[in-house]
Symmetry: C14
Subunit: 95 residues, 14 copies
Amino acid sequence: MTEITADVIVAVVSIFTAGITMAIGSIAPALGEGRALAEALQAIAQQPDEAPTLTRTLFVGIAMVESTGIYCLVVSMILIFANPFWDHFITKAGG
Amino acid sequence: MTEITADVIVAVVSIFTAGITMAIGSIAPALGEGRALAEALQAIAQQPDEAPTLTRTLFVGIAMVESTGIYCLVVSMILIFANPFWDHFITKAGG
Amino acid sequence: MTEITADVIVAVVSIFTAGITMAIGSIAPALGEGRALAEALQAIAQQPDEAPTLTRTLFVGIAMVESTGIYCLVVSMILIFANPFWDHFITKAGG
Amino acid sequence: MTEITADVIVAVVSIFTAGITMAIGSIAPALGEGRALAEALQAIAQQPDEAPTLTRTLFVGIAMVESTGIYCLVVSMILIFANPFWDHFITKAGG
Amino acid sequence: MTEITADVIVAVVSIFTAGITMAIGSIAPALGEGRALAEALQAIAQQPDEAPTLTRTLFVGIAMVESTGIYCLVVSMILIFANPFWDHFITKAGG
Amino acid sequence: MTEITADVIVAVVSIFTAGITMAIGSIAPALGEGRALAEALQAIAQQPDEAPTLTRTLFVGIAMVESTGIYCLVVSMILIFANPFWDHFITKAGG
Amino acid sequence: MTEITADVIVAVVSIFTAGITMAIGSIAPALGEGRALAEALQAIAQQPDEAPTLTRTLFVGIAMVESTGIYCLVVSMILIFANPFWDHFITKAGG
Amino acid sequence: MTEITADVIVAVVSIFTAGITMAIGSIAPALGEGRALAEALQAIAQQPDEAPTLTRTLFVGIAMVESTGIYCLVVSMILIFANPFWDHFITKAGG
Amino acid sequence: MTEITADVIVAVVSIFTAGITMAIGSIAPALGEGRALAEALQAIAQQPDEAPTLTRTLFVGIAMVESTGIYCLVVSMILIFANPFWDHFITKAGG
Amino acid sequence: MTEITADVIVAVVSIFTAGITMAIGSIAPALGEGRALAEALQAIAQQPDEAPTLTRTLFVGIAMVESTGIYCLVVSMILIFANPFWDHFITKAGG
Amino acid sequence: MTEITADVIVAVVSIFTAGITMAIGSIAPALGEGRALAEALQAIAQQPDEAPTLTRTLFVGIAMVESTGIYCLVVSMILIFANPFWDHFITKAGG
Amino acid sequence: MTEITADVIVAVVSIFTAGITMAIGSIAPALGEGRALAEALQAIAQQPDEAPTLTRTLFVGIAMVESTGIYCLVVSMILIFANPFWDHFITKAGG
Amino acid sequence: MTEITADVIVAVVSIFTAGITMAIGSIAPALGEGRALAEALQAIAQQPDEAPTLTRTLFVGIAMVESTGIYCLVVSMILIFANPFWDHFITKAGG
Amino acid sequence: MTEITADVIVAVVSIFTAGITMAIGSIAPALGEGRALAEALQAIAQQPDEAPTLTRTLFVGIAMVESTGIYCLVVSMILIFANPFWDHFITKAGG
């Protein structure tokens, strides 16, 4: 059992957390954006003259909704490529 | 088993909690903002003349909804980069 | 196993609880605010003349809904930065 | 294993329960208030002349809905800062 | 392991049950009251002349809905401050 | 481990069951009553002249719905204050 | 471990089952009755002249819906106060 | 551990299964009957002249829906009072 | 531990499975029949002249829906009173 | 522990699987048939002249929906009365 | 424990998987077919002249929906009667 | 325990995964196809003249929806009859 | 236990993950495509003249929705037939 | 147990996380896109003249919704083919 060193545990938890964070974090933005997009299409069909305003508002809004998905991607990437806990144990092991 | 020291446990729990906090915390804001955005588009199609008022209220409102997502991001970042418990054990281990 | 001292356990539970409290506590306020915001936009589109009254009621109301999210943030921050149980064990360990 | 004394267990359970009580207890009030707020805005748009009556009923009602969230906050604070079980074990340990 | 005496177990279960009882018990009353409040506002907007009758019925009704939340608070407080099982074990331990 | 006597186990299970019974038992009555209350308000707004009949039916009906919540409270109180199993073991232990 | 005799196990399972049976058994009757009550109020508002017929049908119907809740209460009370398995083990232990 | 004889295990499983069968078995009939009752009231309000036909169909129908709940009660009572497995082990133990 | 013979295990699993099969098997028929009954009442109120046809179709249809519940009851009764696996082990034990 | 022979395990798994297969397999057909029946009644009320066509289509359709429930019953009966794995082990044990 | 040979494990897993595959696989086809059947009846009531076209499309469509249920039955039957893994172990054991 | 060789584990996991993949994979296609079929019938009733176009689009569309179910069947069949991992271990064991 | 070598574990996890990835990954595309198909049929019935445009948009759109299902199939196939981790361990074992 | 080295654990967790990330990550985009596509078809049927604008907005919007699915695919591919933790342990093992 001596193989289960600190860095293995940290690596495993980082991998799993990174994946699951991105997976769960993709649910709500996609649903929210899908809904907004659906309503936008309905609105354009209702008021074709306002299509530019509607499209602009839609894309700015989707970017704002996307932001929570981006936060999850950021946390996920930090855990894979810039993980301070991992750096600590690698440094300690190599020291 | 002597490898499972205090700092490993704290690191692992911090990583997992940071990820899951951000992941769960992204669900509701994205859904809420998506819904508001959808209604905004419908409202603009219904009252094109009020587009500026609607858009302004929408973006201020989305910022307020986003705030709970930001709280989660803040807690998540504190747990990764400014974790007082981690600092305590690192200091103790290094002392 | 002698490494699993009292302060490690308290730290780990505090970290996990702080994160999960904030995460769960962000769900309902964001959904509730998103719904209110959506209805506000619909209402403004319906009664543009009442926009100031509606916007004011909306923002006061959102602040009241936000309060339960704030309670969670408060509990979360207390558990990270002003945890009486943690202080007790740190003091005892240092005494 | 001699480190897992009674006060550690009580502290850990108190921390976890305080957090989870506040977290779960914030769900329903925020959803209920959000719904009431949404209907209030719709009602004001429908009957602008009744705005004062509606707003007053809304805020008194929200305060009543908030009460169950407050109960949770009270239980949560009692468990962190005025926990009779914790006091018992601290006193016993110090006696 | 000799530290895990009867009073620790009873204390831990009482703390956890008190919290979770209050937390779960706050869900339904808040949702139910929020729904009633929302309908009340809609009804007032529809029949402004009946506002006093509606408001009175609303507040009496909310008090009745609140009662199940109060039962939970009562059980929660009994478990924390007037727990007969806890008293039994404290008395036995002190006897 | 000799401390885990019969009365501890019975006490722990009674506490937990009492809490969870009350908690779960408060969900449905509160939701059902909230729904009935909401419809009552809508009905009063629709037929103000029938307010006395509606209010009377509402309160009698809520009392009937409340009955299942009361059953849970009764079971919960029996388990805390008039538990025949607990009495059996206390008597046996004291005999 | 010699304390975990047959009667302790039977008592514990009876307590837990009695509580959970009553708790789960209260959900559906309360929801069903709440729904029927809500429709009754709506029906009275629609046909005030039929109020006596509607109220009578409502109360007979609620009594029939309540019957499944009563079955649960009966099973719950049998398990606490007239449990044949418990009687068997008590008799055997006392024989 | 020699106390965990066959009859204890059979008794415990019978108690738990009897309770949970009745509890789960009460959910659907109560919901179904509540729904039918609600529609009956609405139908009576719509066609007061057909009240006798509607009420008769309602009560016969509820009795048919109730049958699945009765099956659960029957299984539950068989498990408590006429359990062939229990009889087998009691007979064997007494033989 | 020598008491946990084959027949005990088979008896325990048969009891539990019989109960849970009946419990789960009662959910859908009751919901489906309740829904059909509700629609039947609505249909009778809409077309009183067709009441005999509707009632006949309803009762034949409910009997068909009930059939899946009956299958579950049959499986449940087979497991309690005509269980081939139980017979096998009883015969073997008695042989 | 020498009593847990191969046939006991196979018997136990067969019993449990037979029950749960029938239980889960009864959910969807009953719901689907209930829905179809409800619509049929509504359709008959709407077009009384088409009652024979509707009833015939209904009963043929219900028979097709019932087929998936029948598949489950078949699998369940195979597992109880014509289980090839059971036959294998019985033959082997008797050989 | 020497009795838990390879064929027992494979038999147990095959039995359980066969049952659960058929059980879960019956849910969606039955729901989908029930829905289609319900709409067909509504459509026939709306356009009695198109009954042959509707009925033909319905039955062809139901056969296509049924196909996913058939796939599950096929997998289930393969696992019980033509299981290559089982054949392998039986052959090996008999070789 | 020496019987739990590599091929047993791979066989067991392959069986279970094959079944559960097909079972879960049958849910969504059947629901989606059922919904499309229902709408098709409604559409034909609304526009009988377009029946050929609607039926053709329906069947092509169902084939596309079915494709995800087919992917699951393919994966399931690969795991049972063309499993590269199983081949590897069989070859190794026979080598 | 020496049989549980690295390649067995990797094979087992790869098999299970491949199956479950395809199974879960088939849910949403099938539901989404079913919904789109349903709306397409409704739209064609509403605007028969636009059938070519609608059908073309439908099939291009379904292909885009299908893409997420394809990603899952790709990941699933990679895990079965082009798994870099499996190759690594096979190479190592054979080296 | 000496076979469970660090690289096996990292490989297993990477495989499982990669699969589950892609599987969960495919749910929301497919649902969101399916909804948007459905609304687009409805909108085209309502406003055939705006088909080009609607189709363009639809496809740009679907690409934005797809982005969260792509993030999941990216994380999944990184975990399989460019996993920094895996590289670390392979390098260390080979060093």
